[in-house]
């Protein structure tokens, strides 16, 4: 029994509309992938390497195959093809030697690497049998550190291809001159640990093979559905038209969950092989070794300043531990890391180099704010150190170096992902002033001073950041209005819980004037939506939303056109509101959208020379990436007995261009901050020196709880809409997390009186105790 829709004003662009997806989710009526059960289904269990680096001398599957309830046990030898999983984001670098096979053949390179696969009648028996697969390993020494991996005498992970995949370099200006003429040079070596997105729902897939028609149906792809369809088509040698991907609700993503992983091939392949539906739900322990990990960078960074503290140049050498394989997102994180590092500052000369290195750990891919969480920490912490060394106020140091409004559009000689970097709109200084005011940051600083005067260890900091949104160039959208007046929006993107359905509905309703309750948003279904690019890179609203806006405008035009005919009125006199089309100023002269849709029957449409149905299909092609920006403040207190860092206050201001739903934008910011605090203080995917993961459960991988995160203040600014899309929107998903590492590190540095003491995240209690000892007890 569903709640009756309430009558109220249409909630369009800019409204704090409660979400349309909430009702089903609150009732426990969402449909996640493990909620899909297909009669007769089998359950897959992956046998994963328990060693970090070894040759496979043999695999004995006989005992497993004979176990009760087992239908099939397969190894790489059974797969037929040995094609690796292809790149999705290809920047033209040959990475073939580094791509991952679906199942390991002769060598395993990380704990968790799939080696064999078992299908059985239920998940319990599948796990029983998987335990019996006997893999004979000949262990090799593991390589666990990027810089060590690059040494000449390092163990090589593969024959014929070195451990360093590539060194990406970006530069402009005369860096040597900048440093040699500098009044001050400030250096630091800063590292960010390995952590990841850890959505609450683990991965999962269900595949059903209709052998008679040769059709495959797959539930569970969550991010880049159409890409999965195309890759499967190639790897399974099936036409795209015979693969039907079906969307489900997704329990979070954060960039890690929806890529094409080995299981995305194995489940459908096994369904075809066994002739039975096959289901797989990743368990949390395997999640921690198989999902893309993230971050793990070391930055050796330096900045040159003139005597007034103006930046003359910036140099950064980065070592990026990418784990054992290059996954479909390729080099994008490394590329962004080195491309985004200098911004939002007026840096006349820059030289960035990033070594992309293979180690015997789980592969590293994008996680919310890839490359920017790390780079923002490196750059902003360097500035925090510089402010101390130059005896300047940290806010003032930033203020004088921020790109000024007068310099917009700001276009240095630099490309990111092959596209020139252009800051096309904005007022970085203006946002800083607004934020300082809104947060009353001066009072935070004063409060921390008072606390220190009482002997407490407290500090504050500021960190500026620039985001990037809208990779992936285009998106598709469609709208259909039924004869009952209901609206269906089809999007090429996906939702993993951010509220995309509501946002798309709000955008469409701004043109169509229909209450949100009458709207359904469909995503991830390749039979209904022939093409799409997906949900990543904070692109859903910016690119997907623009496509929906175009489709809604085309639909509204058509509605007016047809209604004009029905009402015998002029098209330009008609408006859409409350689910109908009527003559402006006289509501009684109108027809409902349902009636308009009914008038778009096939025969009438044929006679009119129009496509049947009330609706439209549109594609939006984005001319330019967007670079939204923001600033964060933190205040922390350190417990001298435990080393615990308490984030007492946090504030994040963000220039979004246009917020379709400010409530959801704030939700994205606050949620991102909580994740950022995880990476700054709690979360670390630790490895033993034998390459064993030591934090492969929620007992040891510490996701912050309600008692670990503070109240977060937000300021969503809409001062600088982007000229590059019709909404003016700049993307929100990655904003909150971006500067947390930098802000927390800076505040800890301030608290202990020396930001130079802080050089690594996460700031675990032990690290904090050590830096307390270093800064408070210089004599010993």
């Amino acid at each position: 029994m569903k709640k009756q829709p309430e009558e109220h004003e249409p909630l369009t662009i800019g409204a704090r509309a409660p979400r349309i997806e909430d009702d089903r989710l609150l009732r426990g009526a969402g449909r996640f992938v493990d909620d899909i059960d297909v009669p007769g289904q089998l359950h897959m269990r992956v046998v994963r390497s328990g060693v970090a680096h070894a040759r496979i001398a043999g695999i004995d599957t006989s005992e497993a195959a004979a176990a009760p309830g087992v239908q099939l046990v397969a190894t790489a030898a059974d797969l037929g093809s040995s094609d690796p999983i292809p790149l999705r984001l290809d920047f033209g670098v040959d990475l073939d030697a580094y791509l991952q096979q679906v199942l390991a053949t002769d060598r395993v390179r990380y704990v968790g690497e799939p080696v064999a696969v078992v299908v059985a009648e239920d998940p319990y028996r599948a796990e029983d049998a998987a335990d019996l697969v006997d893999v004979h390993y000949e262990p090799l020494p593991p390589v666990l550190d990027a810089r060590e991996a690059m040494r000449d005498d390092a163990e090589q992970l593969r024959d014929g291809a070195g451990n360093e995949v590539i060194c990406i370099e970006k530069s402009f200006g005369d860096v040597d001159e900048a440093f040699s003429s500098a009044a001050h040079v400030v250096q630091a070596e800063l590292s960010v640990g390995r952590h990841t997105g850890t959505p609450m729902e683990t991965r999962g897939l269900v595949a059903d093979w209709d052998a008679g028609r040769g059709h495959l149906t797959i539930w569970g792809a969550a991010l880049v559905t159409h890409y999965h369809q195309r890759v499967l088509s190639r790897l399974l040698d099936l036409p795209v038209s015979k693969i039907h991907m079906r969307g489900t609700d997704a329990g979070g993503n954060f960039g890690v969950r929806g890529d094409f992983f080995p299981e995305d091939f194995l489940v459908p392949w096994l369904a075809m092989r066994t002739g039975r539906p096959v289901k797989w739900v990743e368990d949390r322990a395997e999640h921690f070794v198989s999902i893309n990990h993230a971050r793990e960078q070391v930055h050796r960074i330096e900045a040159a300043f003139d005597e007034d503290g103006r930046l003359l140049g910036l140099r950064d050498e980065i070592w990026h531990d990418k784990g054992a394989y290059i996954r479909p997102t390729g080099l994008v994180v490394s590329e962004i890391s080195v491309g985004m590092l200098p911004w939002p500052y007026r840096v006349p000369a820059y030289e960035g180099r990033i070594h992309v290195v293979m180690t015997n750990k789980t592969p590293v891919g994008p996680y919310r704010a890839p490359g920017r969480y790390e780079g923002t920490f490196a750059r902003e912490h360097l500035l925090t150190i510089a402010a101390r060394e130059l005896d300047m106020d940290p806010v003032e140091l930033r203020r004088i170096n921020l790109i000024d409004r007068s310099e917009i559009p700001f276009a240095p000689d630099l490309t990111i992902g092959g596209e020139p970097f252009v800051l096309n709109s904005g007022d970085c200084v203006g946002l800083l002033e607004k934020a300082l005011d809104a947060a009353d940051f001066a009072a935070w600083v004063e409060e921390a001073e008072e606390m220190r005067a009482e002997g407490r260890i407290a500090g504050t900091s500021v960190a500026y950041f620039v985001d990037k949104s809208g990779l992936g160039v285009y998106e598709t959208a469609g709208i259909d209005i039924g004869v009952d007046g209901s609206v269906r929006i089809l999007i090429g993107g996906a939702s993993s819980g951010q509220g995309i359905e509501t946002v798309m509905a709000q955008i469409a309703m701004s043109e169509l004037g229909v209450p949100l309750e009458r709207v359904e948003v469909v995503h991830g279904d390749t039979d209904l939506i022939p093409d799409g690019v997906g949900s990543w890179s904070s692109r859903s609203t910016v690119i997907g939303g623009s496509a929906v806006l175009n489709a809604a405008r085309a639909t509204a035009d058509k509605a007016r056109r047809i209604a004009a005919e029905l009402l015998e009125a002029a098209v330009e006199d008609l408006v859409l509101a409350d689910g109908s089309v009527h003559v402006l100023g006289s509501r009684e002269r109108g027809v409902t959208l349902g009636e308009v849709a009914a008038a778009c029957d096939t025969v009438s449409s044929q006679q009119r020379g129009e496509t049947p149905g009330l609706g439209a299909r549109e594609i939006y092609i984005d001319p330019q990436m967007n670079y939204p920006y923001g600033v964060a403040f933190a205040q922390v207190e350190i417990d001298p007995d435990t080393g615990h860092v308490d984030v007492r206050r946090y504030f994040c201001a963000y220039e979004i261009g246009k917020a379709v739903n400010p409530m959801l934008v704030e939700g994205q910011i606050v949620g991102g901050v909580a994740q950022g605090i995880g990476g700054a203080l709690f979360e670390e995917l630790s490895y033993g020196d034998d390459g064993q993961p030591r934090s492969a459960s929620f007992m040891d991988y510490l996701v912050p709880g309600a008692t670990e995160v503070p109240h977060v203040g937000t300021l969503v600014s809409e001062d600088a809409p982007t000229p590059s899309n019709p909404l003016g929107a700049k993307g929100a998903g990655e904003s909150g997390i971006m500067a947390v590492g930098a802000a927390v590190a800076g505040a800890v540095g301030d608290a202990v009186g020396d930001p130079r003491a802080v050089h690594a995240l996460p700031l675990t209690p032990e690290r904090v105790m050590r830096l307390l000892a270093d800064t408070r007890d210089p004599v010993s």
């Binding site: 998940p123 319990y124 796990e127 029983d128 335990d131 368990d283 949390r284 322990a285 007995d641 435990t642 080393g643 615990h644 709690f682 670390e684 630790s686 030591r694 934090s695 459960s697 007992m699 040891d700 510490l702 912050p704 709880g705 008692t707 670990e708 675990t764 209690p765 032990e766 105790m769």
Partner: protein, 290 residues
């Protein structure tokens, strides 16, 4: 993460449970609250042939005052102890400890006996019971015995309960009048296993000096540890900032905590010193029980 297969028994009386345990003591595990055991089963780190589930043995779930002593049936839920006003008044240390055990959802199901028998060196209840010199009553098909706390915890996850035996009751003596208690720990997140902790009981003399002290340490070694030298040093002394710091240093002087990814041995030792100091100061401040 699905458990291996096992046989499952549901006795309704203690005798019945003992009989079931006697059949194949080595390969049988007792299932109490299951809040530690079932995760281990799910990880397949434990694969017993048979589980004897005590949740149907109603006679093992009780809280009783008997001659001033507190008798806790092994199957008493942690939440029951937490909600007991008598425990709060007379054995405040237990309440202080139990509030730090994981989260309410765990305490609703977890049992006092189960936590003791599991003997996790980072668990709160074993440390509190060690500080209180509790007695553990153990039964088997052959008979019964009582083991004092100092002999009960043997190794990480190993108590004095032998295969075939069952912990049936935990007994703590009445606390002296004029006692103050404190339980202090540090966990990285609320409800996590603590990196260190200290349970303190101070019996105050009329002149304000300490007549007797008990200090038990959490996470200081493979089992809950009593800091005997520090306890002895407190007798006749008064607790202030300086003496608390001094005694705390003494308490951790000889402990050798095990380091792990959450904190090295060195870090833990320093942490323990701070926590003992805090606990001493808190216990000294507790209004004296009438």
């Amino acid at each position: 993460m699905k458990p291996s297969a096992f046989e499952y028994e549901t006795p309704e009386r203690t005798d019945e449970a003992l009989e079931l345990l006697a059949r194949d003591p080595e390969e049988t595990k007792v299932l109490a609250g299951g809040q530690s055991l079932v995760p281990l089963l799910n990880f397949r780190l434990a694969r017993p042939d048979r589980l004897v589930d005590l949740n149907g043995v109603g006679e093992l779930a009780y809280l009783r005052r008997d001659d001033g002593a507190l008798r806790i049936g092994a199957m008493t839920r942690q939440a029951t102890l937490e909600r007991s006003s008598i425990v709060e008044e007379r054995w405040p240390l237990l309440k202080q400890a139990i509030r730090l055990v994981a989260h309410p959802q765990i305490r609703n199901r977890g049992t006092v006996g189960g936590s003791a028998a599991h003997a996790d060196p980072a668990a709160e209840l074993p440390v509190a019971l060690t500080a209180l010199d509790a007695t553990f009553h153990i039964r088997s098909a052959r008979g019964s015995r009582a083991v004092p706390a100092r002999d009960f915890f043997l190794q990480p996850l190993m108590s004095a309960i032998e295969p075939g035996e069952l912990l049936v009751e935990i007994e703590t003596l009445p606390m002296a009048a004029n006692s103050g208690t404190a339980f202090v720990e540090y966990a990285r997140r609320h409800g996590d296993f603590a990196l260190g902790g200290a349970a303190v009981v101070l019996e105050h003399e009329d002149d304000g000096s300490i007549g007797r002290a008990a200090i038990a340490l959490l996470g200081a070694g493979p089992t809950p540890l009593r800091a005997s030298a520090a306890e002895a040093a407190l007798v006749g002394a008064t607790v202030d900032e300086a003496s608390a710091a001094e005694v705390a240093a003494l308490a951790v002087e000889d402990v050798r905590p095990t380091g792990d990814i959450h904190g090295s041995a060195e870090y833990r030792q320093g942490l323990l010193r701070s926590l003992v100091r805090q606990a001493l100061l808190q216990a000294a401040q507790v209004p004296r029980a009438a």
